[in-house]
Symmetry: C2
Subunit: 420 residues, 2 copies
């Protein structure tokens, strides 16, 4: 018996959910809108997608998306939501990530039966673990390169996002590293424009980081945004590696899966996966992708760090969704090859989110990045970093933030500066 | 003065639209949620994104997407929709498609100011035309390779979509080419799985096509789906080329932009761009991407054919949207380098959609693909193809379909078989 892969969906339909699920399975395998002569029973048995389970959820009184078939005449004006699991034989596509996407997330979003269709999760057979290496560094490799153990990496981002030239960027990095930061990232808008060429930025920034490393023995991790065409990304990666850099960053939705697979195979550095553009895929509740399904593909392709937003973030995402995303990165993809990735919490983060993040995640294996939450500390960057570390010490020791602040002036100042 | 690129958005906000537009511009360039010390007036003047125009549209009485900021206390519970144009200096990113995506379609989909945000169009400076070659074949190259002029290419798809082995696929192609078909494509689910290996499928299919070409002097165009990792796609392309094939197909959302750029640079054959997965990006009316913006990026990267759905299709898309998409492919990207692509009409198509398609598009420069609309013709495949050609002859001559059917029995049979 051949191996199968499965995908879970949230669906919404004005018709019979069981029949709609069969339509999905047909359209995404051997069937089509009309009966086809060659679709024999034997062929279907070997190659057709199957509906593995169907669980009815709530009904709603208006369709979540336009364009779908309406309730039949005389039927109640209700749309049924349901959770569906489909499975496919691996024989059709083989263990290929790009072809997996066309199968589990292809035309089915446009099927007329559905006023809502969202891909929630995916489960893959071990053949995928043989074909794709997954993250090479993950949490342990990142911790080793950054010289940070037992607490999160405290991170920040170059600000302003764009407009600094390589020397100005390096000057800012000097301040940050002097202040004790563990991790710095380029903005996703900054890659290799004429105003701040990539290789020159790497040279200037790494000179600063190496100078500090000579003094402290610890090399701050800088995620250089090498997003671009494949030859560019390879060349930029090699340049970072040659200059002693310890991390590269790519905008996943900008390069796409084939680009990321190549980069993952080529890279000798942790890959910081930026998910900008993700909102377009996920923000409509009954359309697109949920994070666990989406992130699994990038983990397989080799992404080490993945952005998950942060608690009480400045974007539209709920805390519940943020934590579900972060947790999903720690769930093993395969028992033999867990391929876990390191979550990156960011967006409007201050010392006030440390305890909640730790409590919800149950782990300090993460990067906690803050812009204003560190840079705007009234005592300066060093005090901003110290306050963040103190907040995490307190969180991990189960000590209230206010009590820790009594013995840590930097944290006390942060609590005054960043009101709850 | 530096060149700038622009992007147009449809937005929806509970707040002041002008202020929301400024937030977009700030977040996607030098600004951030809080004032940053280094964001000087000089830096902003050189690097900040600008709001070029703002046009108020309707208001709605509930937010299109969840998570956004609500109307202020006491303010009316109305959400304003508007059309916004932003511009950015090219100096920040240079003429790079992947970095363009991170800029015009990055984090902004998640901004709390917006209960709706959709990227409608993009305008690029000539530097992009120097960097990217666009489609190498387009309409004229495709017509030349397929030996079809003065009418659409009549196409179909291998059915069942999956499950046929290479010999069975070739047997079906034999029937189709015997029937006079111009264009055949693999299903997007069929690439290089163990059940139908790519190279063997190419060998078997091309043997059939070459045999017919020896007889007729015309080589039916087969779009072989080579979707996969980059090395695989290059190898598969080379194999198709070596066997005399005239078209390759890729699932654009499965491979991504970096993969497509590489494929476009490498390919010596027309690239048939399949947009499966597109529904996830476009189906929520106030989120994601409109086709003109999205397709321009793929045209630059070198896609020759792009799917646009079809009139009265079996999916959820309206005829108006289908035609707007198809028309957009014919609008020049640059006056010096139009980079127009060939639209592919498909999904539930029969002879009955020819006249409407021609009238709406004003052109026969397209591929018109039908599955059941050709294969299920009661007179067989040859009659199905003949009926389609006759329907297009009539459409282009301004003759009613029924009148043409009086002198064309195949069309008459089609009209009986495919009721309106």
């Amino acid at each position: 018996m051949t191996e199968r892969f499965t995908a879970d969906y949230l669906i919404e339909t004005a018709g019979d959910p069981a029949r709609a699920a069969e339509t999905m399975a047909g359209e995404q395998s051997s069937g089509t809108f009309v009966a086809v002569p060659g679709e024999t029973a034997e062929l279907k048995a070997r190659f057709a997608a199957r509906v593995e389970s169907l669980e009815l959820l709530d009904t709603v009184d208006s369709p979540s998306l336009p364009g779908a078939a309406l309730p039949k005449a005389g039927a109640p004006k209700r749309w049924q939501q349901a959770r569906v699991r489909l499975s496919w034989p691996l024989d059709v596509i083989g263990p290929s990530l790009p072809n997996l996407v066309a199968t589990i997330a292809g035309n089915l979003f446009e099927l007329k039966d559905f006023s809502g269709l969202r891909l929630m999760d995916v489960t893959l057979p071990p053949a995928f673990a043989l074909r794709y290496a997954g993250p090479r560094f993950g949490v342990p490799g990142t911790r080793q390169l950054a010289g940070v153990s037992g607490r999160p990496l405290i991170g920040t981002i170059i600000k302003p996002s764009v407009g600094l030239d390589p020397d100005q960027t390096a000057g800012f990095v000097d301040e940050l590293v002097t202040g004790g930061i563990d991790f710095i990232k380029d903005d996703e808008l900054q890659s290799d424009g004429p105003a701040c060429p990539f290789e020159m930025r790497v040279d200037r920034v790494m000179a600063v980081i190496e100078r500090h490393a000579d003094r402290t023995g610890r090399r701050a991790m800088f995620a250089f945004n090498l997003t671009g065409e494949f030859d560019e990304m390879r060349r930029r990666h090699d340049h970072v590696l040659a200059r002693g850099g310890t991390c590269i960053m790519a905008s996943l939705n900008s390069i796409g899966l084939a680009g990321m697979i190549e980069l993952g195979r080529h890279s000798q550095l942790p890959i910081h996966g930026h998910r900008n553009g993700w909102g377009a895929l996920t923000r409509a509740p009954m359309l697109g992708w949920a994070f666990p399904a989406w992130s699994k593909l990038w983990r397989l392709a080799g992404v080490d760090h993945l952005h998950v937003n942060g608690l009480q973030n400045k974007f539209t995402e709920s805390d519940e969704s943020v934590i579900a995303s972060a947790r999903s990165l720690g769930e093993p993809l395969f028992s033999s090859h867990p391929m876990t990735a390191m979550p990156v919490f960011s967006s409007g983060q201050t010392v006030r989110q440390a305890a909640g993040t730790y409590a919800a995640l149950g782990s300090a294996d993460l990067i906690h990045a803050a812009g204003g939450g560190i840079l705007a500390h009234p005592g300066g960057i060093a005090a901003g970093v110290e306050a963040f570390r103190a907040a995490w010490d307190a969180a991990m020791a189960g000590m209230p933030l206010e009590r820790k602040a009594e013995i840590n002036p930097a944290l006390a100042a942060a609590l005054r500066a960043y009101s709850g």
